[in-house]
């Protein structure tokens, strides 16, 4: 370990807030940050890039695997339209690897405030990092290969969260299951179609008026018994927990939080009033250790009823509006109303109203109590969701130390990877978001987030059968495999479509793969490795490997090459080594062919997916099961790669 530590150098700008992302102590280096030219005010670091230098990492962001050519801003935000121009998504994961012709290193910019990474956006060959505040811990990590650097970085941030094995089962979700009968119907239908299912997610409607740690008694009159009933059928119920706590007299969470001073406060000391799903809410101050412990303990209400998995949502935090801001806008509208609106004032009017939600200025209206210090929210914005999930993770350790609980979150920051996974948030029913899902996995893995996945089929909008089928063909490889959709969109449970048999076969294939996936996942977590690797991470000397951004190694034995273009019945695949192509239609029905290193166009009909078994490796497939508990790991089939025993 001595050698590893020596490869990590820590630099300090100003007086940084401790994010507790890094779990090891490092001496502070005296000299300049290497590779970059740092401005005197320590707000800007610049580096000149050679034409083919590459940058990898930054977690959950838009665009391709190589992050060059865009400006990314770490600023957790509730924005569901993940188009190419969005600098910020839900996560803030400030680790990257610079892989150039003469500069090769990793860097973690550890600061809970806004950071932007302009990687050749304004100027094609300039990499500029801008810190909104100058306070930051900067870790520079050297290594002989990308994977070397990644593993060293992971070594300083602590081990990744490992979920229970059943969390590798398939979960059906939808914002729109209104009551226990809706949930029962879903399970009945999956069972009726003999389709595997492991979990049903409960979106916000299970609660009483969207109040955390309540259950709506009309919709779920005997919740504990219902959880028990589902468990008897091998089904886990996974409720959502939102960051905002409804303001309502008599609601214990609200009243305790007010009494104990656990909510975030305005400059004047009053609790901030914002609106989210429950209407007016206060936000728990997850940065305050006491508040964190208190909120974490609240999960007990659901744990006690047999719940063993949760998803934390709206924890950027999302804000529909703040009470104060809304008042101001209504005042401004009154002024505008009387006027003969010209175009500019009309756009101002529209902008005022649209700008009520997730407004940057609102994040300056409230304060945290962090280690005894009063800190304005925007300075620590990016660690809010992290600390909500940490509240839960730490509580699970206290409340049920012997049991693994499923936990994943929407907002995140490096450090949170120790307490839970992430899903990539409210995506769209777009083919481009299937590709984005593929391309986001390595960046997330690099930052320690191994348990992750996207809303399969797309959350917003009406999915189509072909998109859902292609997406599922990738999602059966992601640790979190969930089909989720928005209220009032087309229903997208697998049993609703024309080609049910094809979907059943895909779900069955997932279950056949679970022993392999869970094994490889656990290994990656323990060894600070990645589950999803781009080709160039393993073949750094192969120029073509850098070109490929739509194929991934999944664990040690296989490479996947998903079809992600509508109406395509095949795709180009690059093999960096001789491999055995497996064209799966089901766990039992597949074609095999050994293909040489190089480029291939490989056919894959809508119900076929492509897996490539590596040289000297084998892919184990378990026999049929509709629940992870029923998987027979003793009776495995092995598909062997070329030159494998």
């Amino acid at each position: 370990m001595e050698e590893v530590a020596a490869m990590v150098r820590k630099y300090v700008f100003g007086n940084p807030i401790d994010t507790e992302s890094v779990v090891k102590e490092f001496p502070v280096e005296k000299g300049n940050v290497p590779y970059f030219e740092v401005a005197i005010n320590e707000k800007t670091m610049k580096l000149s890039m050679a034409a083919n230098d590459k940058v990898y990492g930054l977690g959950e962001t838009v665009r391709g695997i190589n992050k060059r050519g865009f400006r990314y801003t770490s600023n957790c935000v509730d924005d569901h339209v993940h188009t190419e121009d969005k600098s910020s998504l839900y996560a803030a994961q400030n680790f990257f690897v610079y892989w150039g012709s003469d500069k090769r290193f990793g860097m973690f910019v550890d600061t809970p405030g806004k950071v932007s990474f302009d990687i050749g956006d304004r100027e094609i060959n300039t990499f500029e990092i801008d810190l909104e505040d100058f306070d930051a811990n900067i870790y520079v990590i050297d290594g002989d290969s990308i994977m070397d650097i990644v593993r060293r970085f992971r070594g300083i941030i602590g081990k990744s969260y490992i979920p229970p094995k059943w969390a590798f089962g398939f979960g059906q979700s939808r914002w729109g299951y209104m009551n226990e009968q809706d949930v029962r119907d879903v399970v009945d239908n999956y069972d009726k179609q003999d389709m595997p299912l492991e979990a049903v997610y409960l979106d916000i409607d299970y609660m009483e008026n969207y109040k955390d740690f309540t259950v709506n008694k009309e919709r779920f009159p005997a919740f504990k018994e219902f959880v028990e009933e589902m468990k008897g059928r091998g089904i886990h119920l996974i409720p959502i927990i939102d960051a905002g706590v409804k303001i309502e007299d008599g609601y214990d969470v609200y009243e305790e939080g007010v009494r104990e001073g656990y909510f975030v406060k305005k400059e004047n000391g009053e609790n901030l009033v914002a609106a989210v799903w429950p209407g007016k809410v206060h936000f728990p101050d997850f940065l305050n250790e006491k508040a964190r412990n208190w909120f974490g303990n609240k999960y007990k209400f659901l744990l006690d009823q047999g719940i063993d998995g949760f998803w934390n949502d709206m924890n950027e935090p999302a804000i529909f509006y703040t009470e104060d801001h809304l008042k101001e806008v209504f005042e401004e509208i009154k002024v505008l109303e009387g006027q003969n609106l010209d175009v500019l004032s009309f756009f101002k009017f529209q902008g005022l109203v649209e700008g009520l939600s997730n407004n940057a200025e609102d994040y300056k209206r409230f304060y945290h109590d962090y280690k005894g210090q009063k800190i304005r929210h925007d300075k620590v914005h990016n660690i809010y969701g992290y600390n909500m999930t940490r509240a839960a993770g730490e509580a699970f350790e206290r409340l049920c130390p012997d049991k693994k609980i499923l936990m994943f979150s929407r907002a995140s920051y490096i450090g949170m990877h120790r307490y839970g996974g992430v899903w990539t948030g409210d995506n769209q029913t777009w083919w481009s978001h299937l590709l984005l899902n593929i391309q986001q996995m390595p960046g997330l893995n690099m930052c320690g987030f191994l348990y992750c996945g996207a809303d399969t089929g797309g959350f917003w909008g009406d999915t189509t059968e072909d998109l859902l089928m292609r997406w599922t063909q990738f999602s059966i490889f992601t640790p979190l495999f969930r089909n989720h959709s928005l209220k009032d969109t087309r229903n997208q449970e697998y049993y609703r479509f024309t080609n049910k048999k094809d979907f059943r076969n895909l779900l069955r294939l997932r279950y056949a793969l679970i022993p392999y996936l869970y094994d490889q996942f656990t290994k990656a977590a323990v060894e600070d490795d990645m589950l999803f690797k781009p080709l160039c991470f393993e073949y750094p000397e192969d120029e073509m490997a850098y070109e490929v951004e739509d194929q991934l190694f999944v664990g040690d034995s296989i490479m996947v090459a998903p079809v992600y273009r509508q109406n395509s019945v095949g795709r180009y695949v690059y093999l960096p080594e001789t491999m055995k192509m497996v064209r799966f239609r089901s766990p039992e029905d597949y074609d095999e062919e050994v293909l040489g290193k190089g480029n291939h166009y490989i056919k894959a009909a809508i119900n076929e997916l492509l897996v490539f078994v590596r040289e000297g490796k084998k892919l184990p497939l378990a026999g049929p099961a509709n629940r992870t508990g029923d998987i027979n790991e003793k009776d495995m089939i092995y598909i062997t790669g070329p030159h494998c025993c």
Copy 2:
């Protein structure tokens, strides 16, 4: 011609409004529309698709070349966020070719109202056409090949618009050139960098308070002289014309329109008051022949000052708000203000304000006088922009019959292709929009729109040097080649970037290609052919040709395969025949290699583009020129394809 006519059958639902899209007379068939099952109310036509049946056409729409798997709605709309989920863009072009295993035909659904084409969206194998109104002329076109069907269809809608040759030169545009000095600076900079340039576009700021057919006297104190000055330098100025006419006492266009009753009217006979760029406006009733003539004649104001090109904008028509609707919204807001907004009422509030613009209900608030009939706008919505451009095109015939005028439009409907081209509207600085640009070209060509192109580099958002370079590498093949961007975004004139030489070479290559492009364009217009063809249109027996949606034949001699992925330095290319690959860095600097039929991965650095010269064909390249008038067509170089003389 007898034979051709026999292959086109006309069916009539109800009592359709004549769009004047089709220029030939056809007897009305008595029987049922073939191929489809038509519902009794004639609002729905259904067809069952086999798994690999394909659908091409529908003009300017999102997604790939094969339109299967989505629901397209013809409904011209001012929406600049052309994500995959947008059923409607600016255009309404209701012609498609169905190319299946046992059904092969073309269809033109000729109705000026809303039509939706659900091509396997709700149900994977069902093609359903829904007419909002049942009145429509349905043309069914048979043929032995896709191109056969396309040519027959084109034969019934009249010849495509042919612009002057200089319109194939490069045009620099930006909403943000405020005065003659800004324009002069652009021209100076292009000249200084020895970069070709043919035109500068004038966006709305050249006008006096956004009033059509006015010029701002402070910004352009001697407009005619300035036009002359620019013409002296070989530069055309191309002003924008918007659909809305500003309400302002003393403004002649407004006063004449009111006096003559040429504006669209509300139910009660008052002129509709809407707001667009000038603030409050009336909309000319382009469907009224007299109003059309009147408005067309107004272009004379600019023609007389030496202007010889125009772009018609905002003619869906775009509506920021209507006066009546805004009043209603303010009333509703008053009610909401007093309430303790819950989440639903808050979203209602946001929705009310957001919904003010381009609101479907507003299109039901006004009426046209079409051939003596009072018709509510929504029933004829899709032919409004068409008739604005027709107003101009017909006027040019009257005013300057011996001169070709450049004209293109944002909104369109089939029929408008006789009067002008289109640009694909306010796109985004997205790599996916470069691909969209490529994929939209064949659909537009099929519908008769040959003079077309996209805002190169992207209109909304900050472009990057690499995106602009890759985009330009495709745009140098589109008839309309314009670099255009939005106010307050990053400036994107070519001379502003690091690698000026590479951009100069691309512009020079465009000019070298103009003789070929203009020749092929004119031929396509005269022969009812397409300029941009997907591979499968020429190789219907080649299965792989159907898979390729990112390569196009451009004219008879070449195929292009643009690189459209960020950070890629190469791409897969499929050759349906032996071709000569030409890797251009400039018109003088290129690699040549004959490659066989099949798949290839071909390198293309950021400053290189790939052209493939076809078997037995040659690509002419003209010598260097910075204006089309300076192109020496006598001194051509020919790059020959395999087996060419």
